[in-house]
């Protein structure tokens, strides 16, 4: 092979190394951009997700909502302090006891004035909180109604 032919061959090898790198990069960037676009299209605001899931805490008699003993009527937005405990919360909202459960939405509920706090089974340290929902609620305790704020700390990995 002459020097010229060797030079041409070397140039082509270098060209294809660079071209291959550029083509792979372009395809990867394109795929990542489109995947990101799809994620943005289907994204749900965490506030909406947390609100819809946490409605049950104050509105469902199987959670903390007060239920009249005579009529069986549920008083949405009124918390029965007797029910505000770990056992009721575990029945109301419990995520799986594995990695899937940890990756699901978890909550810590705090009744500010009554200084009571309970957490769902996979709620971790407070620094992992993503957002906080505040709800003005009435609390039924010792046969009287008191105003309070329910703080719902939300974790969603």
């Amino acid at each position: 092979m002459s020097n010229k032919a060797q030079f041409d061959s070397a140039v082509k090898t270098v060209y294809w190394i660079i071209a291959g790198f550029v083509i792979v990069t372009v395809v990867l960037v394109f795929a990542i951009t489109l995947a990101g676009y799809k994620d943005r299209l289907t994204a749900v605001p965490p506030e909406l997700k947390a609100e819809l899931t946490s409605f049950r805490f104050t509105n469902n008699a199987d959670c903390f909502a007060l239920q009249e003993t005579n009529t069986g009527k549920t008083m949405a937005g009124i918390i029965d302090l007797k029910k505000f405990n770990q056992s009721v919360l575990d029945n109301c909202y419990k995520t799986d006891d594995d990695v899937i459960g940890i990756r699901q939405m978890n909550f810590q509920l705090v009744l500010r004035n009554f200084d009571r706090s309970i957490s769902t089974n996979n709620y971790k340290n407070a620094y992992q909180d993503k957002l906080t929902i505040q709800k003005e609620v009435l609390v039924w305790s010792s046969n009287k109604m008191e105003k309070d704020t329910l703080l719902i700390y939300v974790q969603d990995i």
């Binding site: 041409d8 372009v26 749900v44 997700k49 199987d62 959670c63």
Partner: protein
């Protein structure tokens, strides 16, 4: 090897590589543009939210999903909703998990029906086709 022949082979190779890249990229973009997977995920999310909302209300209720759902099959289970097309591979099936209060039951299958309703009756949440008066 003949220099001219080698150069033609290289050129053909270049053209094939470029065409392959264009075809691959276009087919991926087309699959996204058709919105099929996006729609499935959105609809599965919506059903999950509707189930969560129904589990939060004190009484009974029926909710009509305001989109045409005839392209898909919906399966509501105790802790998840799945959206897919018949004959889909497992990879194309969208499944979203949710957590109901203890004692609640969620169930129902609807396949290729345009109007989807979720009904809460006591502690049961049922996925079914909407009836005449519910639309």
């Amino acid at each position: 090897m003949n220099k001219k022949g080698a150069s033609i082979i290289l050129m053909i190779f270049e053209v094939i590589v470029v065409i392959s890249v264009i075809v691959l990229s276009s087919s991926y973009a087309k699959s996204l543009a058709e919105k099929d997977s996006t729609l499935r995920l959105t609809e599965a999310n919506d059903i999950r939210f509707m189930v969560n909302a129904l589990a939060s209300i004190p009484g009974d209720a029926v909710v009509h999903y305001p989109e045409n759902t005839s392209d898909y099959t919906f399966v509501l289970g105790q802790d998840r909703v799945a959206v897919f097309k018949l004959g889909d591979s497992e990879n194309n099936k969208v499944e979203i998990k949710f957590f109901l209060p203890a004692g609640y039951q969620a169930f129902g299958i609807i396949e290729g029906k345009p109007y989807l309703c979720l009904e809460k009756s006591g502690k049961n949440i049922n996925l079914r086709e909407c009836l005449e008066g519910e639309l």
